[in-house]
């Protein structure tokens, strides 16, 4: 394992120190339990939008804290959901009368720990709602399983709900908006290589030189299918088909296309894949109105990419375009 670290046990804490130093104008980091909080939180009269999860997916979530997006982020250990007391600390640090929305990615650990935190916060009289995002079409959904994972759609959900909270929407409205976004966003991911978790010291799965994992999550879990490497044209076509056919997205739909690097895939490849996705969507008559291209929800150094499609309407587009000032997403400010 080769990493720029001192000790696997202190990676997250030390990294947060760097984040705080680099972005003192937009966020602050509180210790023990570690949370990342908007520098001006609590923002009076505004709904707090809070998310979190295991670390190793940066910039998610800490890099999205700031004006117009997250009010707080709760980073767990690498690939491990944060504990309820950390989530509760984030709620307390940011939540006033307007209440808070917790954005939870659908993993057993995240759901259970956030659930407990929400109960604790409710017991203190705070109005806290939770939404669970499960946009990964790779996983079969069923009430008897853990259900679909939350992946790329999380970034879009955080941006859009953060914008709604920023403009002063009430908690009911922000929650309803979140459910709407979750209902119309879908993603799929592939991995070319495996990430290496610092405390594990070895790649999370073994992949031959001519194999890829199709339908990967963001935690180094193997994908749903191991297939031979294929051309970018073929790979992206398969991904587009998986996402489009799921919702389904149809001719004339306006969408946001999010082409995401899992961390180790260079931009030159990512833009190449994005270009293919744009062409394939155009061929289907799907209208790409907004796009996001880059490493925004990653899995450490894993090479690979994901595609996310969100069906847009005027409201969502307006909220997407609204000013945002965070370490990783910034415009209009």
């Amino acid at each position: 394992m080769k990493k720029i670290i001192n000790d696997p046990k202190t990676v997250v804490a030390e990294s947060l120190r760097g984040l705080a130093a680099a972005h003192a104008d937009v966020l602050r980091v509180e210790d023990d339990p570690a949370i990342v909080v908007r520098v001006d939180a609590p923002v009076p009269g505004k709904v707090a939008v809070i998310s979190g999860g295991g670390s190793g997916h940066e910039p998610l979530h800490g890099g999205f804290v700031g004006q117009g997006m997250l009010t707080a982020a709760v980073p767990g250990a690498v690939f491990t959901s944060p504990t309820p007391d950390a989530v509760e600390a984030a709620v307390k640090a940011t939540t006033g009368d307007a209440g808070a929305l917790l954005i939870v990615k659908n993993y057993t650990g995240d759901v259970l720990n956030f659930e407990t935190a929400a109960e604790l916060a409710a017991a203190e009289g705070l109005d806290v709602r939770s939404v669970v995002i499960d946009d990964d079409v790779a996983v079969k959904d069923s009430t008897y399983t853990a259900g679909r994972r939350g992946v790329g759609g999380t970034v879009l959900l955080e941006k859009i709900t953060g914008a709604a909270a920023e403009r002063g929407d009430a908690l009911d409205a922000v929650e309803a908006l979140a459910r709407k976004v979750i209902g119309q966003v879908r993603s799929i991911g592939v991995a070319l290589t495996a990430p290496t978790v610092p405390h594990a010291g070895e790649p999370s799965f073994d992949l031959a030189d001519d194999e890829i994992e199709f339908g990967i999550g963001i935690h180094g879990e193997p994908g749903i299918e191991r297939t031979p490497t294929v051309s970018a044209d073929e790979l992206v076509a398969r991904m587009v088909e998986a996402v489009v056919s799921d919702l389904p997205f149809g001719e004339g739909d306006k969408v946001l296309l999010f082409t995401n690097s899992m961390g180790g895939t260079p931009l030159v490849e990512l833009y190449l894949a994005h270009g293919i996705a744009e062409r394939l969507l155009a061929e289907r008559g799907i209208v790409v109105e907004r796009r996001l291209v880059g490493p925004y929800i990653t899995s450490l150094e894993m090479q690979g990419m994901s595609l996310t499609l969100l069906k847009l309407d005027d409201e969502l587009t307006e909220l997407w375009d609204a000013p945002v000032n965070t370490p990783a997403l910034r415009w209009g400010v």
Partner: protein, 207 residues
């Protein structure tokens, strides 16, 4: 031998040593079908339990269990943190104010722990989770309810071992391994394994 706050604390310390010794094994099991952190998570939690106990042993067995539960909940995270935390918390509630735990009370506590895990995680037997180790362990403990604590725990540990083994042939339906579907067949569930390890450590400590 009945179980006091002191012996329970000693058993938790012994369990911490066992978990530390199997940290890498549990990471490897989780690496195969999950996200390679189960050993790290459990080790972090039990190391924290030992630190907490170092500041003084609570008065009753129930209080010791509660300390362990809250420590697990606040230090482990992931799926295992709330699930084991709930198990310990429910067991603690069942122990009530007893100064010593006898066989029947122990069995009740184990049953409560299992129910807590299932209430929280919604897994049933055959889903290839820690529940597959706990269900047979609790049944075996109930059958042995008349014997001494060591025998009850040994029976539970033996059954948990077998139950954990059974996950190898199952298609996981809960937790991270469920994403793999059929591909997870042939792999031991890490949480089932850690449950078996904990029960074995408690059994050994009770002798």
């Amino acid at each position: 031998m009945a179980c006091t706050a002191e012996t329970l604390a000693a058993a938790l310390r012994a369990a911490a040593t066992v978990i530390a010794g199997h940290r890498v094994e549990l990471i490897e099991l989780d690496r195969a079908i999950g996200d390679a952190d189960h050993g790290e998570n459990m080790d972090r939690g039990f190391t924290a339990i030992v630190s907490a106990l170092d500041t003084g042993t609570p008065e009753t067995p129930a209080a010791v269990m509660k300390l362990a539960a809250t420590t697990l909940i606040s230090k482990v995270g992931g799926a295992a943190g709330p699930l084991y935390g709930t198990a310990f918390l429910r067991a603690s509630v069942k122990l009530g104010t007893a100064a010593e735990v006898d066989g029947p009370l122990l069995v009740e506590a184990l049953r409560a722990a299992l129910e807590g895990v299932q209430a929280r995680g919604k897994a049933v037997g055959g889903d290839a989770t820690m529940v597959d180790a706990l269900i047979p362990a609790v049944s075996a403990a109930e059958e042995a309810a008349g014997s001494d604590i060591a025998s009850i725990l040994t029976a539970a540990a033996d059954a948990a071992d077998k139950g954990a083994e059974s996950t190898v042939d199952l298609v996981p339906r809960k937790g991270r391994a469920s994403y793999l579907g059929e591909r997870a067949i042939g792999h031991l569930d890490p949480g089932a394994r850690s449950t078996a390890l904990l029960l074995r450590a408690f059994a050994e400590a009770a002798r």
